[in-house]
Amino acid sequence: MSWPVLVAAVLVLAAGTFAFRIAGPLVRERMSVSVSPDVERLVAIGAVVLLAALVATSALLDDGGPAGVARPAGVAVGGLLAWRRVPFVLIVVAAAGVAAGLRLLGVP
């Protein structure tokens, strides 16, 4: 692929991504007078729902298929520690450590 085509593709992706990112803040300002607490709450729930969906897919799936055992196990341990309100650093290190350790033992 010639590099001008590649640069153009990157710039179109960048422009589109930026449009997605700034649309929310712009529209929100337009409606700032009229946003009711109910709408505010729904929007916040929407963000949590999106993040939870990202957690589910990135923990369980890889390229549309199952992600194996090590990764879901690591995330599950991290989730359990988070539920027990263990400090954030330990949660992240434990999740990575469990997944890496299982792989070292040959678990996919």
Partner: protein, 243 residues
């Protein structure tokens, strides 16, 4: 901007958590740079993508499609679909950005991590500080990582061996968990996650995550059903009792 720094300084735990996520992102960036160049693509491509697109999942997808000989229109469309979730994210964090150049910069540094960190904070000042600190921190670390990976080559191409693929879902999970204590939010999130998982095999990447938003309807209907018993006031008490 000074108030953001002050807020972060006054809560060392938050600063440490943010630094950890930035370090993990730098390692993934390192692998992104190395993988892209290793696939025979020009050394400027990962760096340009990381500066102007700045969205990890979309960047990996774009590069994967280009490297396997896909046409650029498909690669752009796939990347845009993966990034469409930033639109609803923007509604949530829109009040943390300010106006003018701050809104432009603040929008560009919007990521899953910065949104999740902001949502997990108890008040507006800390939400704003967390959003900006994570956004700027990850932008700098991600780009430095990609730069090092593009030139340094294959030191860490397989971040799965370090378990980083498990660390990122765990980061987001830890950050959304407090929000899930609210029953309506928990129902919506569970429904959304199921919708996403079930539709993923049949739909292009990015779309299943957006469909999760249908889960919000469940939160709405649940609220309407229990409106007379005022679930928002009774719920915290029952969850306290359960603990």
């Amino acid at each position: 901007m000074r108030s953001i720094w002050r807020t972060i300084r006054s809560s060392p735990d938050l600063g440490r958590d943010i630094a950890l996520v930035c370090a993990a992102d730098a390692l993934v960036g390192l692998s992104f740079g190395a993988i892209t160049v290793g696939a025979g693509l020009p050394v400027w491509l990962p760096m340009l993508l990381s500066l102007v697109v700045f969205a990890g999942a979309a960047q990996f997808m774009f590069v994967g499609l280009i490297a396997s000989g896909g046409n650029p229109v498909t690669a752009v469309a796939a990347g845009l679909l993966v990034n469409a979730r930033h639109l609803p994210f923007g509604f949530t964090v829109g009040d943390l950005l300010g106006r003018g150049w701050r809104r432009v910069v603040g929008s560009h540094i919007m990521t899953d991590e910065s949104v999740a960190f902001a949502l997990a904070q108890p008040d507006h000042a800390r939400r704003r500080a967390a959003y900006w600190a994570v956004g700027v921190g990850v932008f700098v670390c991600w780009n430095l990582g990609v730069l090092a990976g593009a030139f340094g080559g294959t030191v860490v191409t397989d971040t799965d061996r370090l378990g980083l693929d498990a660390a990122f879902p765990a980061v987001l999970l830890a950050l959304v968990l407090p929000s899930l204590r609210d029953p309506a939010t928990r129902r919506a999130a569970a429904a959304g996650a199921v919708i996403t998982l079930v539709t993923t095999p049949f739909l292009p990447a990015g779309l299943p995550v957006l469909l999760a938003l249908a889960g919000v309807l469940l939160a709405l209907s649940g609220r309407r059903g229990g409106a007379t018993s005022s679930p928002s006031s009774s719920a915290p008490e029952s969850s306290e009792a359960a603990r």
